[in-house]
C-alpha cells in the first residue's frame, strides 16, 4: 500500500496529460468557433486504428503513427471545414447545427471503422522493451511513459504556437471575441480552416497516445472520448487551453484515486461529481475566469 498510492498518482498524472491533450484539441475548435464537434472522439479512435494498422500490418513503431495520424486527420478536418465549417459558423445556431452535423460525421466515421476493422476491440501488438520501468518503488509501463513523454513534448509546442505566434494569439482572440477580430482585419474563415485542421490532427495524435495507454479500443469507443473531451474542457474552462490541461489532470486524479479507494465502478461517478461541483462553484470552470473575466 505504501507504494500503491504514489503509483496510482503517477499513472493518474500520465492519464491526466493525455486527457488534457484530448481537451486541448477539442477546445481549439469549440472555444474558438463554437462548433460542437461531436465526432471528436471518433477522430481520436480513427487515430488509434491508424496506429493499429501501422503496427499490426506493417510492423512500424507506434511513434511512426503520430505524423501519419496527424496528416491524414488534418486533411479530413480541412475537407470537412471546406464542406460545412463556414455554413455551420454562419448559421443562426452554430452549436446546434454543428452538433447535428457532427453526430452524422461521428456515425460515418464509426461505420467506416467498423467496415474496415470489424466490430472486435483491438489493441496494438507492438511492445516496448523493457515492458516497464521501476524507480523509487514506482512501476510505470514503458508504453505509458512514451505516451506521456510525447504529450509532454507536444504540449509546450502547442502552447508556444498558441501564446507566442501571431496566428496563435489570433486564435485565442477568436475564442474571446470573434467580431473584434474580424474588424481588425483578420480573415476569420482562413483562421478557422487552420484551427479545424490542427484540431483534427491533434485529435488523431491523441488517438495514438490512447492506443499506447489503454488496453483496447473499438469503432464504438468514439462517443466515450467525445464526452470525456467535453467534460475536460468544461471542467477546465471553455476556451482556455491551460484549463483543458488542468481539467484533464483533475478528472484523471479524481477518477483514479476514487477507483483505488472506493472501487472501479465509482471512478467515473466521482469524476462527474467533481465536474458538477466545479460548475456550481465556478461556472466558468477552473481556469475559465482567467481568460473570460467579464
Amino acid at each position: 500500500m505504501a507504494t500503491l498510492v504514489p503509483n496510482i498518482i503517477l499513472n493518474a498524472a500520465i492519464l491526466g496529460v493525455i486527457y488534457g491533450f484530448l481537451g486541448l484539441s477539442l477546445t481549439i475548435v469549440y472555444g474558438g468557433m463554437r462548433i460542437a464537434n461531436l465526432a471528436h472522439g471518433d477522430i481520436v479512435v480513427a487515430g488509434s486504428f491508424i496506429t493499429y494498422a501501422l503496427t499490426a500490418k506493417f510492423g512500424y513503431s507506434p511513434i511512426a503513427a503520430l505524423p501519419v495520424a496527424f496528416t491524414y486527420l488534418s486533411v479530413l478536418g480541412y475537407g470537412l471545414y471546406r464542406i460545412a465549417g463556414k455554413r455551420l459558423q454562419n448559421s443562426r445556431e452554430p452549436e446546434l447545427a454543428s452538433f447535428l452535423f457532427f453526430y452524422g460525421v461521428s456515425l460515418m466515421i464509426s461505420a467506416s471503422l467498423l467496415f474496415v476493422f470489424d466490430a472486435d476491440a483491438r489493441a496494438i501488438s507492438f511492445q516496448f522493451r523493457p515492458l516497464s520501468f521501476q524507480f523509487l518503488g514506482l512501476r510505470v509501463p514503458h508504453a505509458r511513459l512514451v505516451a506521456a513523454g510525447v504529450a509532454l513534448a507536444l504540449v509546450p509546442v502547442i502552447f508556444w504556437a498558441l501564446y507566442q505566434t501571431i496566428y496563435g494569439k489570433a486564435l485565442r482572440g477568436a475564442i474571446m471575441n470573434r467580431d473584434a477580430l474580424r474588424i481588425v482585419g483578420i480573415d476569420i474563415d482562413r483562421l478557422s480552416l487552420f484551427a479545424f485542421s490542427i484540431s483534427f490532427g491533434l485529435a488523431g495524435m491523441t488517438g495514438v497516445l490512447i492506443a499506447l495507454v489503454f488496453p483496447a479500443f473499438s469503432p464504438f469507443s468514439g462517443m466515450d472520448y467525445t464526452i470525456l473531451g467535453f467534460v475536460v474542457i468544461v471542467l477546465g474552462g471553455l476556451g482556455s487551453p491551460l484549463g483543458a490541461l488542468a481539467g484533464g489532470m483533475v478528472f484523471a486524479l479524481t477518477e483514479q484515486l476514487t477507483t483505488l479507494y472506493l472501487g472501479q465502478s465509482t471512478g467515473l461517478i466521482a469524476g462527474f461529481l467533481v465536474l458538477v461541483a466545479v460548475i456550481v462553484v465556478r461556472p466558468a470552470g477552473l481556469m475559465g475566469q482567467v481568460e473570460w473575466r467579464a
Partner: protein, 235 residues
Amino acid sequence: MLRISGVSKSFGAIRALREISLNIEPGEAVGLMGVNGAGKSTLLNCICGLMKPDGGAIELDGKNIIGMAPHRVSMMGVGRTFQVPRSFRGLTVLENLIVAPSREADREAKADRAHKALKRVKLDRLASNYAWELSGGQQKLLELARLIMIWPNVVLFDEPFAGMHSDLCRMFIDELKEMLQQRVAILLVCHDPGTLYRLSRRIIVMHEGGILAEGSPEQIKTDPKVVDAYLGTAH
C-alpha cells in the same frame, strides 16, 4: 470618400434601416444621433461588413464594399469601435494591438508602432497587463489604439464617450481631432447632443430606421421634427 446610398436592412418584419443615404469626406466628422433602436449601430455594422444590407450601395473611394468580408473592409481602412468595448480580454494590452495585421513588415516594427499607439492613448504603462484588468474607459482607449494600428481612412465610433471618465474623454477627443487633421473621415454615434454639436459640423438624426433630419448643429437644434422626436425641448 464614403458614400452610402439607399441602404436598407430588415430583421423579419422590422425595418431597421430605410433607404439611408449619406456621404462623408476626408477630414470630416459627421455626427449620428437618434433614440435607441433608431438604426445607428445597424448602419455601422453594415458599413464595416458585420451585416449585409438588403439593398443599396456603400462605396469606399468609389468601390462598392457591400458583401465584402469585415476583414477586407478593415484592410481598406475602415475601423470601428463598439458601444461596449470588444477587447481580447485574455490577451495583454500590447497583444491586443499586434494581433491585427499591419503594414509593418517585421515584428519589431509592428511592436514599435503598437508601443507608440499605446503611448498616444497613455496606456503604455499597462502594455503587459491583461485587457481584463483595464477599466471600462481604458478599454475604450485600447480600442482607439487598435484603430490607430490599422491606419484607418474612415472611422466609425459607436458611443465612444458612454460611461467614460471626463479626463479619458478629453484624451479621446484630442485623438479624434488629431485624426481629423490627418484627413480621416469620422462617423460618430453619440447620445449626447452637446458633444456631437461640438465635434461635428454636420449632424444626421435617425428615427425608426430612416433619416429624420440632416444639417449643421444650429439647424438640428431648431428643427421642429428633431425637437419633437428626439430632444423633447429646444436646446
